[in-house]
């Protein structure tokens, strides 16, 4: 089995290095290492090193390892105990459709293997826990997640069939390394909110990991706000694919103005006790509620 995997990985990369176009399988993958290698952002770094370096600093590059607690709780409590359901790919995908979109191309067995790593990373001990964490560090929301899999997530009637071998981009340039298709949706807030909002699973279940999108549409746009997610989190200050958010104090401070007036005096005629009045003003300049995720 290990030999077959090695041959597969060798063929995958050797075909790319021979200047053939970047390709992706249109079938389910059952082996963990093959799965990691297939969707590894390093495949894109050869041409897009600067973007890759930005992405490495982002929470998208840590979308599994940074979310162990919440996801493992869903896998160990939500699905089996509260819903009394089997933890299968259909349930696993309710978290991983955003945290690891390529799960779409994992077999049922591999999806369960990955779910097991998530559980062991939370409740395991010692070496078992460390090994599970090491596996999860290899999994993330990589380039392919946004530039292919999630493209049809918001408007499948318009985008239609997604070709696994096409890299969908916001720009209009072409590439010798892969098939490219210009996709304006990547510049729209609408694209981000499919995960940064209330998530509706294919079977209709909703999960409230965060609720930014409702706040953005109704409270920001509705009051005259006109910026997209990308304008603040990508285009401003050359943030690019680092896409800082609540984990980055610089952008947190940028989104909030603060003023405070402090005055001391004596209060109560005849009693003259020392008194203080503080007037504080917090202005949310962001395009969504604060805090949120």
């Amino acid at each position: 089995m290990a030999l077959l995997v090695s041959i597969f990985i060798f063929l995958l990369f050797s075909s790319f290095s021979m200047a053939e176009k970047l390709t992706f399988p249109n079938q389910l993958i059952d082996d963990f290492d093959t799965f990691v290698a297939t969707y590894d952002a390093k495949r894109c770094a050869e041409c897009h090193e600067d973007v890759y370096e930005e992405w490495k600093e982002s929470y998208h590059s840590r979308s599994m390892i940074s979310s162990i607690k919440g996801i493992a709780n869903f896998f160990t409590v939500g699905v089996p105990k509260e819903w009394e359901k089997e933890l299968n790919k259909q349930e696993i995908i309710k978290c991983l459709d955003c945290h690891l979109p390529q799960i779409k191309f994992a077999t049922e067995r591999l999806a369960q293997e990955i779910a097991t790593y998530m559980i062991k990373a939370k409740i395991g001990k010692g070496k078992e826990k460390e090994e599970a964490r090491a596996k999860l560090k290899k999994l993330n929301l990589s380039c392919y997640g946004c530039h292919n899999i999630k493209i049809a997530g918001t408007a499948p009637g318009i985008t239609g069939h997604i070709d696994p071998n096409v890299i969908y981009t916001s720009g209009e340039g072409e590439s010798d390394a892969h098939e490219t298709e210009h996709t304006p949706i990547l510049k729209r807030a609408f694209f981000c909110v499919q995960c940064h909002g209330v998530y509706i699973a294919p079977d209709g279940e909703s999960t409230y990991c965060n609720t930014l999108s409702g706040s953005y549409v109704h409270n920001y746009i509705g009051q005259g706000g006109r910026k997209t997610c990308q304008e603040c989190h990508m285009y401003a200050k050359g943030r690019g694919h680092r896409m800082p958010g609540g984990h980055d104090l610089e952008i947190v401070k940028e989104g909030i103005d603060f003023q405070a007036e402090i005055r001391a005096f004596r209060y109560g005629v005849g009693k003259w006790v020392p008194a203080v009045n503080v007037e504080a003003f917090l202005t949310n300049k962001a395009g969504h509620r604060i805090p949120d995720g």
């Binding site: 401070k253 109560g268 003259w272 006790v273 604060i290």
Partner: protein, 102 residues
């Protein structure tokens, strides 16, 4: 996010006053119970800072110690990325003096 006001005796460091305002979402399940699990939450009570709005908070307090001459007032704003880790993002500090008694 937490807005915190603290008054201290500048000589002893003793806290004379402390109050906070908290801004967050409370997740509720279908029965109206507070929940943390994303799969359980079907509604929220929104106590966050709303976009393009200014939240005005007023703190008025007195001190029992009539001969208090000075107090150190600190107004802090903390951002919590999780329930445990709070980062100080803004601070206004002032040493105030109370008018002398007539």
């Amino acid at each position: 996010m937490v807005l915190e006001v603290t008054a201290k005796d500048p000589e002893t460091g003793k806290v004379l006053y402390h109050d906070t305002r908290k801004y967050f979402e409370i997740g509720l399940d279908l029965d109206g119970f507070m929940r943390y699990g994303a799969w359980q939450i079907k509604e929220i009570v929104d106590l966050t800072l709303q976009p393009l709005k200014t939240q005005h908070e007023r703190f008025f307090f007195t001190f029992a110690q009539k001969d208090l001459e000075k107090a150190e007032i600190a107004v802090n704003v903390y951002y919590y990325i999780s329930g445990k880790k709070g980062d100080l993002i803004y601070q206004v500090k002032k040493l105030v003096e109370f008018p002398e008694m007539p």
